[in-house]
Amino acid sequence: MPETVDGLTIRSARTTDVPSVVDLDARITGLNKDDYWSDMFERYGRRQNRYFLVAEDSEETLVGFIIGEVRAWEFGSPPCGWVFAIGVDPDTRLGKIGSTLFDAICVCLKESGVDTVRTMLAREDELNMAFFRSQGMMGGSFIQLEMALTDEIGARQQAGGDA
């Protein structure tokens, strides 16, 4: 890092990139999350085995970002890479920015010693789902489960629980 491919520079994020990431994310999601992205930078921007990469064009405008880390032993999973955020300037989509960012973080993760990368997406997030599949990702050996945390849980605990 940094690495330049076809006029696109991929490098680790700097503190000064945070406002641009906030703006880009707000353009994509419609939500302005300054505190969240500052916190993300603190937690992933400068620690070992955690990666917060950005892509900037030849005019040094931030056009994308990707964040990932190495996680280990969650329900018996050996160390593996996780990608949990990606954003690309909507005006530059299909310009291989997402692919270049994904390739770059995969190299970082591989250098950290893992040989698998995972992610988790909403079922209806067709844009990102199609993107990650186009990069070669497929359904993995883990399944995401969830439930609403309701008052029923407290009642179950008082009654002695199932497990």
């Binding site: 079922r123 209806e124 067709e126 789902m129 199609a130 599949r133 186009s134 070669g136 497929m138 359904g139």
Partner: protein, 144 residues
């Protein structure tokens, strides 16, 4: 997941043609390559042509050509032409019972995962997967 014969024919035909959208291939050649009924395939190709996925070329050297966008068309768009993808959402006897409602939650989850998988795989992605499998040796060569 078991796909209907027509769906498999359609997927074979579309994917074969989508490998090179400038190439014209006859229905007979596709039928022979995938060991499927030529009559069945002819009917499926007519449906695909009506949907704008393939184009029928007349004359000598005629045949079919892919006419969609390989990076945009997903497996779901082909599958839904031939499968009753809404089947799971139509009420059936027993659905209103407590067991029926709980079962329905589970089957809906399965259906939603299947639909989301098919919706997220474009023809280009599937062809890329095929090339990757060929490159890393994971294709069963005895079956090819």
């Amino acid at each position: 997941m078991r796909l209907q014969k027509a769906t498999r024919c359609a997927l074979f035909a579309v994917l074969e043609l989508a490998q090179d959208s400038t190439r014209q291939v006859s229905a007979a050649d596709i039928a022979e390559k995938y060991n499927i009924s030529a009559n069945h395939l002819a009917k499926v190709l007519r449906d695909l042509a009506r949907a704008g996925m393939v184009e029928s070329m007349r004359g000598a050297g005629g045949g079919y050509r892919f006419s969609g966008n390989v990076k945009r068309v997903t497996l779901y768009e082909i599958v839904k032409m031939f499968e009753d993808v809404e089947q799971g959402t139509r009420p059936e006897a027993g659905d209103e019972s407590p067991i029926g409602q709980a079962l329905s939650r589970v089957t809906t989850e399965i259906d939603e995962i299947a639909v989301s998988t098919l919706r997220s795989i474009t023809l280009a992605t599937l062809l890329k997967l095929m090339h990757r499998m060929a490159a890393d040796g994971s294709l069963n060569r005895e079956l090819v």
